[in-house]
């Protein structure tokens, strides 16, 4: 009995080899489309699969939902179709941490139907996730990773498939430092990061710029994103008597710091400033009235292109509320950029199958020049920075906190 089953198994394996071979030989030879990394073939009527890896659950979900909606509106604007094929979107939660990014990217990399990816949201997800995707030949365009490392000249070839439509934090951190120095006229500042790639690099850029301007950094502290009791660390910061605290972190920990800072002796009058990661109504929920009067650096919505207004109308109509975070327009642009690149490189075989070369798609994305997007005119440099960065500083009023809406007029612009 056992022998027969082994024999059958061997026969089966042999048979499958022969079949596979026969299939390969049956391939049409008239149409040729080659790509050094691989080709995605989409049969007639099959969808073009674009995958998104965003933070769509957990305390930082507002960031992911915001970008998800941007992508969905972009698909709507395309009429849901690209080159006659329906666009299929799939979403993978990436958790706003390295482990989540790795898990999401591994899942996406296993799916050969995916043409391109949009994401991730948090820079710490991108750091392990992008190499996994690029190994599978999937280029990814991020709407909200702002950490400088990801487009650094020394980042290594495993990040070759990575681009972003949002600003690089080299810009954002510098704007925050300039604002503190020239507008608030503070001389002493402290920074707090949460160990994430995004926060750590942003805090570093801020500190470097602030020191260059002539200021003193009294403390460069760090907390864990899951920490709740910030009073000890704030007490430690208070010993340096800063006039300004910059904490470019995420919502849960950011809320705790904002609430607890004013309770600490010596920090009652300190100016607080966060970055775009906590520029969200959810942050107002977390921080409550303590957020009144604090500053945020974030993309300047008033400098966005004409189309932004109609985008907001569509957003309101589709979801019944205002955007939840600052990166919906960047996500829209990322999706549009991916669609344009696919349109550029896709070739149709005589039998109606669409061929998309993975390397060709990546090169087409990198070749994006003067692309008119909502956030401005996008041109990608050779490291994948495509943004047209306009960063402004916003100030939160009591009205904002009460109604849980972000301020829409910049408080200060560097340009």
């Amino acid at each position: 009995m056992k022998r027969i089953s082994i024999l059958l198994l061997i026969l089966g394996i042999l048979g499958s080899f022969i079949l596979a071979d026969a299939q390969q030989q049956a391939k049409p030879t008239a149409f040729k489309y080659e790509d050094p990394i691989g080709v995605v073939k989409i049969k007639k009527g099959d969808p073009i699969h674009i995958a998104c890896w965003f933070v769509i659950a957990g305390p930082d979900a507002s960031l992911g939902i915001d970008t998800k909606r941007g992508v969905e509106i972009a698909v709507d604007d395309k009429g849901g179709k690209l080159l006659g094929h329906p666009i299929k979107l799939s979403f993978q939660d990436s958790g706003c941490n390295a482990e989540g990014g790795q898990a999401a990217a591994t899942k996406l990399a296993a799916d050969p139907t995916i043409v391109a990816a949009i994401g991730s949201n948090c820079s710490s997800e991108a750091k392990p996730g992008v190499p996994i995707l690029w190994k599978a030949g999937i280029p990814t365009v991020s709407p909200s990773n702002t950490a400088p490392y990801l487009t650094d000249p020394n980042r290594g070839p495993e990040y070759d498939g990575y681009l972003r439509t949002c600003h690089n934090d080299k810009v954002q951190g510098a704007v925050a430092a300039q604002f503190a120095w020239t507008q608030l006229k503070v001389k002493k500042a402290a920074t707090i990061h949460d160990g994430s790639v995004y926060a750590e690099q942003l805090a570093k850029v801020f500190a470097e710029t602030f020191k260059k301007l002539g200021g003193t950094i009294t403390a460069q502290e760090a907390v864990a994103p899951t920490d709740t009791d910030m009073r000890p660390v704030l007490t430690k910061i208070a010993t340096g008597k800063p006039e300004f605290i910059y904490y470019p972190i995420f919502i849960a920990a950011g809320g705790h710091i904002t609430r607890q800072a004013k309770e600490i002796k010596g920090l009652e009058k300190v100016a607080l400033m966060g970055a775009d990661g906590i520029f969200s109504p959810d942050f107002y929920k977390a921080a409550g009235e303590a957020a009144i009067g604090m500053y945020h650096s974030s993309p300047d919505f008033s400098a966005f292109a004409e189309g932004y207004k109609s985008f907001l109308e569509k957003h309101q109509k589709k979801y019944g509320e205002k955007p939840l975070a600052p990166f919906h327009a960047h996500a829209y642009d990322a999706a549009m950029m991916v669609f344009a690149a696919i349109e550029k490189v896709a070739k149709r075989a005589p039998d109606g199958t669409l061929y998309i070369g993975r390397k060709a798609l990546r090169d087409a994305l990198y070749a994006t020049k003067n692309f008119k997007g909502l956030t401005g005119t996008l041109s990608c440099d050779k490291y994948g920075d495509c943004a047209d960065p306009k960063i402004a500083v916003y100030k939160t009023t009591a009205e904002n906190v009460k109604n849980l809406v972000m301020p829409d007029k910049p408080f200060w612009k560097p340009y």
Binding site: G58, A61, E221, A222, P232, K236, R259, E263, D282
Partner: protein
């Protein structure tokens, strides 16, 4: 004499002691350097102690649940962190309703009492059901099996709450009477921290005297000594185990509300970190020992608050608060090296272990 010592002390023990002594030396070195550095005044240290006490008393309350269940069942109830989460999460809806109707500002004491009542009854109800559904059928199974069930129950509860109430967090309303501070000259106390410490102390004292003084408490202690004998003495073992879970749930629910009032955020995953910390506290104090759990919790809170500044600042380590958890767990290792049974743990004889 020497021969006897050599028999009892293994090379592993020696190496562990060596590591322990090194760590202890580093800590003392760091503390001296920090104090000499003079960055912190006495007021800062006072603040650190108060922050640590407030956090620690919450750990202590949660740790009670771990240690009591361990006492009667010899198992770690990993779902206890979800018992902790369920109370304040459910009570949040009452708190939000009171806040939006304005009752919270007019009758704060009454509202707080209702919030505590709701949270404590939810937590103890869930703890009771947990024991009934997940642990009792497995009472006679090998000890690893209830442990796995506990982890399963923990995930189940987390995701039930996520499914019911969403994955985002909810912001607890601000209770006006708990805001502000009291000043004593240069020293100052935040009102709610005093309230948290007092409430926790009161609850801990009540629980302790319940276990020590009442008949039910005596029966619980008898069950934790020896189930069979207790049964022969006419004690309803099943009921005592249920009672233990309910009491642990009450403490966890109260701790949950205190936690929510202190940090003003609740979400479905909020129990995880405090749960792990409280478990650590229970081990630190000697698992199975009730005063030990209280002591362990407060000790852990204090170490987390004071440790990074005291030990690491002087050693010149940048951003020491990132290493808060590392310090807490190093302390656990240190305590276990020198006292394997925990601070107040009794030497376990064969019958218990």
């Amino acid at each position: 004499m020497l021969h006897k010592i050599r028999e009892r002390v293994t090379p592993t023990d020696l190496i562990m002691w060596l590591i322990g002594t090194c760590l202890l030396f580093l800590m003392i070195w760091g503390s001296i350097a920090t104090i000499k550095g003079g960055t912190y005044s006495i007021h800062h240290w006072f603040d650190f102690v108060i922050f640590g006490l407030a956090q620690g008393s919450i750990y202590a309350l949660i740790a009670m649940g771990y240690t009591m269940v361990y006492g009667v069942l010899r198992m770690i109830n990993f779902a206890h962190s979800e018992v902790f989460m369920s109370g304040p999460y459910t009570a949040y809806y009452f708190a939000a309703a009171f806040y939006s109707s304005g009752l919270l500002d007019r009758q704060p004491i009454l509202c707080l009492m209702i919030i505590f009542l709701v949270a404590m009854s939810t937590s103890s109800g869930i703890a009771f059901l947990l024991e009934r559904v997940a642990y009792r059928p497995l009472r006679t199974a090998p000890r690893l099996i209830p442990l796995i069930t506990a982890i399963g129950a923990s995930f189940f509860l987390q995701y039930v709450f996520r499914g019911l109430f969403g994955s985002g967090f909810q912001a607890y309303p601000v209770v006006k009477i708990l805001e502000g501070e009291w000043r004593f000259g240069e020293f100052r106390l935040l009102k709610f921290q005093v309230i948290v410490i007092l409430a926790a102390a009161l609850l801990l004292a009540a629980l302790y005297s319940f276990i020590q003084r009442t008949k039910v408490g005596k029966a619980i202690r008898a069950v934790s000594e020896d189930k069979e004998t207790a049964y022969l003495m006419g004690i309803d073992v099943d009921r005592m185990i249920s009672t233990t879970f309910v009491i642990g749930g009450l403490a966890a629910g109260a701790a949950g509300v205190l936690y929510a009032l202190m940090f003003k955020q609740v979400h479905f995953f909020m129990g995880f970190i405090p749960g792990i910390k409280a478990f650590t506290a229970a081990v630190l104090g000697g698992i199975g020992n009730i005063p030990g759990a209280m002591l362990g919790g407060i000790f852990l809170g204090l170490i987390e608050s004071i440790g990074p500044s005291l030990f690491l600042d002087g050693l010149g380590i940048i951003a020491p608060y990132q290493l808060k958890d590392a310090i807490a767990f190093t302390m656990l290792v240190l305590v276990l090296i020198f006292r394997p049974t925990g601070i107040l743990g009794e030497r376990l004889a064969v019958k218990k272990a």
